[in-house]
Amino acid sequence: MNTYDGLVNDYLRAVEEALAGVPANRRAELLADLSEHIAARRAELSPEQETEVEVRSILELLGDPEELAAEVMLDADPVAPPGPLWPAGALDDSGPPGSSGALGSSGSVGSSGALGRSGSPGALGPPGSSGSLGSSGFPGAPGPSRSSGSLGPSGPLGSGRPGSAGRSEPADALPPSAAPILIQPKKKSAAVIWVVVTIGAVASMCVVAVLLGVFLFAMSRDSSSGEDSPVPRQEVPAPTAAPTSSPS
């Protein structure tokens, strides 16, 4: 572990904490990008040049963690629930060739090897704890090529891409629509009540309509039966010719 890895890890940890409200895939994506950037910038420095001032300068140019989080939140989806973030390997796209480790293999930020505490998304383990920052800590955090935790063999950016130099990356390996749809319990019960009331109203209307139909049918039947029934014809007595007494 390089002398200044702690500075880098502290910075990445601060970014990760600032990104607490950001969906996990975006969080992992930015952390991987920042780690890659830091590793590349440190690789430009010779061992003599890599001083605390230089490393701090790299981090300062990257910007304030809160500012980065605000930028990510501009287009963030609703916050994903805690728990396993993506299927294993979903974040593989973030890693450079030859890397392997946390973000890719576990698919969960903060799980063992990524940020420290095993199995607790987003949790940060104490330095030196199992899987904590260091040789297998933040992607590329331990520094470029001069430490065992460089972006090469143990960098946790994703599964290895041996010989993949020059290979084109897909636009995004993380399905944006993969976030589960959450229904709040209150809204769910309200929706159920609404459905029940609607069904009840429709059923009532159906019953009323049927009864009305039966009633009208009966009425029409009554009236038509009245017309068809033979009316006893009253014999109209033929007018009897009144005896006319003609005066003769």
Partner: protein, 113 residues
């Protein structure tokens, strides 16, 4: 009324991403170098790090694609290149921007004499 900082942010919004696309128009760009170049433009960005969420958005939109290349020294490098979709978006922006800029200049009175 918004603070001056908010105005800068609002002006950057919707334009910075096309500046990024324009830098890739001729040739693919090494990501770190691209970020360093844009990060130095204080009118456009506040810090280098804020460009990474933007680059991620462009990747998701399919406007840029990335390629890993081995580096002669240091870790592998990620290169960004414009896709055909991104190229069309950039052309569309140029058309819209010219009209938008002319209108604002005319109304606000910032048109060059």
């Amino acid at each position: 009324m918004d603070a001056p900082g908010s105005l800068s942010t609002a002006l950057r919004r919707g334009t910075l991403e096309f500046c990024v696309l324009a830098l890739m128009e001729e040739d693919e760009q090494y990501g770190v170098e691209l970020v360093r170049r844009l990060g130095a433009e204080r009118t456009l960005t506040t810090s280098e790090g804020t460009l990474y969420p933007l680059l991620a958005r462009l990747r998701r939109a399919g406007w840029v694609e990335t390629t890993w290349r081995e580096s002669p020294s240091g870790p592998p490098r990620r290169y960004y290149a414009l896709t055909e979709h991104g190229r069309r978006a950039l052309h569309h922006f140029r058309d819209e921007w010219s009209s938008f800029r002319d209108t604002v200049d005319r109304i606000v009175g910032t048109r060059a004499a």
